[in-house]
Symmetry: C2
Subunit: 184 residues, 2 copies
DNA sequence: GTCTATACTCTGATAGAC
DNA sequence: GTCTATCAGAGTATAGAC
């Protein structure tokens, strides 16, 4: 009977993404996902061998979207402006998609495409930072920049800091890094 | 019959800590915890109303230990030396206790003592940064410093970067911040 | 080749007896 | 204060219907 098949990997991923974006990891349960697809829970094990594979696919999606956002934000800008634009688009993504963002630097799971979209994202940021420091392969500075962006997004999400505190800290850190990268 | 009680909140926390440090959140399940305590799973709901409360207590413990480590590392040092010492002890804690560390800036849960040990830790770092910038209540710079430390620890743990990359990035970022804080 | 039915083991949590 | 008994829900494996 099932010609064409009711399920495809893409359809599953699309619905999984919706559930995950609203409710986070807890909302992405196999049974509700099956209900939303009009199917039985065991059905999509043909497409994703386990739940973690689904999460891995979501992480790849998030990485790709973040990459797109940063590319758009930095495109055609002078080095300093691109640096700030990339930073703010990173933060914007974390705010707009908190659950997907939380997937990004999680403890290393399987189902993480090592040389996948993560590599593209890295190279994009590497280029932006390189334009500032004058070293087109400045791994150390890129790591430092990335660490600051990611850490700040988490601090903000944790809610441990007031409203004014984090906001000022972002600008302050960015300017300090920019300044410091130029000097060293 | 049970006089004195077999359980106390401290005993439970101690065993929970052991399980959690070895195996992370998944290893802290109620039944194994009960077995380790020679007790039935339902028994410690008298002491911790739910599993999340136990995790909250572990987070408070982690915060307190990290605070101690940073205090010890920075004690009696000149501003710049204290800055680096605090940074490295933060990183060391993240490496030595990866699971506990992951609890630290998680999404805000209940059972998080808002004005608890977190406040002490914050004030300690605030003092260290203030000694550098000359402003004893430099919230923005402290947030920036903290964001960098936490982000770097996560980048490293994620394993997405080679061995040499992150290492150099830590020093690079710290020096850039130190430099930039002085200038701005 | 695709999906369903069923069942198994695990989880956190609760009610009430002792 | 701890027990027994039980619950609903999770992820997953397998056999077989179509």
């Amino acid at each position: 009977m099932p010609y064409p098949a009711k399920l495809t990997a893409e359809k599953i991923l699309k619905v999984a993404l919706e559930l995950f974006e609203r409710g986070g990891p807890d909302a992405l349960a196999m049974r509700p996902l099956a209900d939303a697809l009009g199917v039985r829970p065991s059905s999509f094990y043909r497409y994703y061998p386990e739940r973690a594979a689904l999460l891995g696919a979501l992480e790849a999606h998030a990485t790709s979207k973040l990459h797109d956002a940063i590319c758009r934000a930095a495109y055609g800008k002078a080095p300093d402006a691109a640096f700030f634009a990339a930073a703010y688009s990173y933060l914007d993504y974390a705010r707009a998609h908190p659950h997907l963002f939380a997937l990004l630097l999680g403890p290393r799971a399987p189902y993480t495409a090592e040389p996948g979209p993560g590599k593209d994202l890295w190279n994009e940021v590497l280029g932006i930072v390189g334009a500032i420091t004058g070293n087109s392969d400045d791994t150390a500075a890129t790591v430092a920049f990335w660490a600051f962006l990611h850490g700040f997004a988490l601090l903000e999400r944790s809610g441990q800091f007031g409203v004014s505190g984090p906001k000022g800290g972002f600008e302050r850190g960015l300017r300090a890094l920019l300044e410091g990268f130029g000097v060293n």
